[in-house]
Amino acid sequence: MNAEDEADFRSFAASRMRDLRRTAYLLCGDWHHADDVTQTVLTKLYTNWNKVQERGRVDSYVRTMLVRATFERRRRFWWRRELGSAQPPETPAEVDNHVEDRLVLLEALGKMPPRQRAVLVLRFWEDLDVAETAATLGCSEGTVKSQTARGLTNLRALLTDSHLMEGRSS
C-alpha cells in the first residue's frame, strides 16, 4: 500500500471507527468484544483496501465484514473465546438514565437470535433499507422482511414494561 492509499485508509478508519464499534457493540453486547471485532475488520480492510476502493462500496463492505465477524465470534467454541477479567475495571458512576435504557435494550437484543438481532440493528440503527440489509447479511430480501417483523414483535414485547417504553408513551 502506497502512502496515498494509507492516508485514505487512515482517514476513513478514523472517521468510522467509533460508529463501527457501536454497531458491533449492539450486535454482540460487549464493548471489549466490539473493540476486537472492530480491529479485526479494520485489519482486513487495510489488507484489501485497494480492491475495496475500486468498488466504491467501502461502507457496505465494512458493514458486511463486521456482521460476519460478530457471527463468527459467536460460533467459536467456548474455550476459544476470550475470558473476561474476574475483577472488571472500575467504571465511573452512571450519570443519566440512558445507561439503564441501553442495558434494557441490550438485554432485549440478547434474547433474540443473532440474525434477527442483526436485522434490527442494521435496519433501525444503521438505517439501511431492506435491500442493503439483505446484501449485508447475504440473504434474500424476503428473509430480511420476515426477520424484521418477528424482531419488532419480540422487541416490543420485551420492552413493554421498560423505561424506554414509558419514555415513548409519555
Binding site: 464493548w31 435504557d101 416490543r156 424506554l164
Partner: protein, 321 residues
C-alpha cells in the same frame, strides 16, 4: 406507534446517552496497520513456500509420472510395448526385445510344420525344438506394424542339424522381406549368422562329447565372434582384412509377384543352406528356411538339405498363407 418507529426511537434513545462504559480510547490505527502488514508478510511467505513445494511436486510428477504410469520415457532402452519402434533410432541402437514389442497371437494358425518338411524331404524325421522365449507352442507373434511372425525350429537328426522356418505375413510393410530380398551382402550375412547359431544350438542340444565335436564348437564360436562385429563396423581395417567374399544368392521368379532366393551359408565345418521366399500378392509374405548340419554327411548318413529342398519347403509353407 408503528413498530419501525418504536424500534428506531428505542435505539436512538439508548445510544444517544453519554455512553458510559464505552472505552474512551479507540484502537490505534498504527497497531492495526502494523498487524495487517505483518499478516500480509506471513501470508506471502506461506504462499511462496507453498508455491515452491508445489513446483517441486509438479516437476517430479512431470519427470517421473510417465514412467510410473508405464508410458515410457525419453530413453530408448526403457521403452515399452508399442513404443519401441518409435523410440529406437533406425540403425543406431540394438533392436528392441521381441517380448517387449510383440504380443502372442490370439489364434495362431494351425499348421503341421513337421508334415510339410517330411513331404518335401524324403526320409527325414524331425522333432520340434522348444524355444524358451516363445509365448505359445506355435511361436506366433503379432508385431507392432500389424504383421504376424512365426518362428519354428526342428531337429533334423542324423546327422546333427536344425531347420528353422520364419514366416512373416500381413501388416503395412514387410521389412524383413524387403531387407532379405534386396540381395545385398548383409542379407546373406544375416542368414549365415543364423545358420551358425542354429548349428551351435544343435550341438549344445545333443551334447556330444567327442573331440571332433568340441573342436568344431570351438571353431563355430570363434567364427561367430568374428562375424558379429562386422555388421556394426564393416569399414574398420581389421575387419576388412579378414573379410571373405559373401556368397551370392540365386533367385528365381518375378520380383512383382514372388521371388525365391537360395544361398549357401555354410562355412568351415558346418553345412548351411538358406532359402527365402518373398511374395507381394495376394498377401505380403516372407518365408525363410534355414537348414544346417554340423558336418558333411558321412557314408550311411542322410545328405544335408539342398537348396531345392529348402525352396520346396518355402513354397509349401507359402501355400498356407
Amino acid at each position: 406507534m408503528k413498530d419501525e418507529d418504536f424500534a428506531r426511537n428505542a435505539f436512538r434513545h439508548a445510544m444517544e446517552s453519554s455512553f458510559a462504559g464505552e472505552p474512551t480510547g479507540l484502537p490505534s490505527l498504527d497497531d492495526i496497520a502494523a498487524r495487517a502488514r505483518r499478516g500480509n508478510r506471513t501470508r506471502q511467505g506461506v504462499y511462496a513456500a507453498s508455491a515452491v513445494a508445489l513446483a517441486g511436486v509438479v516437476t517430479a510428477g512431470v519427470v517421473a509420472g510417465p514412467s510410473a504410469l508405464g508410458l515410457g520415457s525419453g530413453s530408448p532402452d526403457s521403452s515399452t510395448a508399442g513404443q519401441a519402434g518409435d523410440t529406437t533410432p533406425a540403425g543406431t541402437g540394438t533392436p528392441p526385445d521381441k517380448a517387449k514389442v510383440a504380443t502372442a497371437c490370439p489364434t495362431p494358425p494351425q499348421i503341421d510344420w513337421a508334415a510339410i518338411i517330411s513331404q518335401q524331404v524324403a526320409g527325414i524325421r524331425v522333432t520340434p525344438v522348444s524355444k524358451g522365449s516363445a509365448p505359445d507352442q506355435n511361436n506366433c507373434y503379432l508385431m507392432p506394424d500389424g504383421s504376424m511372425n512365426i518362428e519354428v525350429l526342428y531337429d533334423t537328426g542324423n546327422p546333427t542339424g536344425l531347420i528353422q522356418i520364419d514366416v512373416n505375413t500381413g501388416g503395412s510393410k514387410n521389412t524383413r522381406g524387403s531387407a532379405s530380398a534386396s540381395k545385398t551382402p548383409n542379407a546373406s550375412k544375416e542368414a549365415s549368422l543364423r545358420a551358425l547359431k542354429l548349428t551351435l544350438a544343435s550341438e549344445q542340444a545333443t551334447a556330444k562329447s567327442s573331440d571332433d565335436t568340441a573342436a568344431q564348437k570351438q571353431a563355430l564360436k570363434s567364427q561367430l565372434a568374428t562375424e558379429k562385429p562386422t555388421g556394426a563396423a564393416t569399414n574398420s581395417p581389421a575387419n576388412t582384412a579378414v573379410k571373405t567374399p559373401e556368397p551370392t544368392p540365386t533367385c528365381t521368379g518375378a520380383k512383382e509377384t514372388q521371388v525365391i532366393c537360395t544361398v549357401d551359408v555354410g562355412k568351415g565345418g558346418y553345412v548351411g543352406m538358406s532359402a527365402t521366399l518373398t511374395r507381394t500378392t495376394p498377401t505380403p509374405l516372407f518365408v525363410e528356411i534355414v537348414g544346417s548340419t554340423s558336418a558333411p554327411a558321412t557314408p550311411g548318413q542322410r545328405a544335408p538339405l539342398t537348396s531345392a529342398q529348402l525352396s520346396a519347403i518355402a513354397q509349401a509353407v507359402a501355400a498356407h498363407f
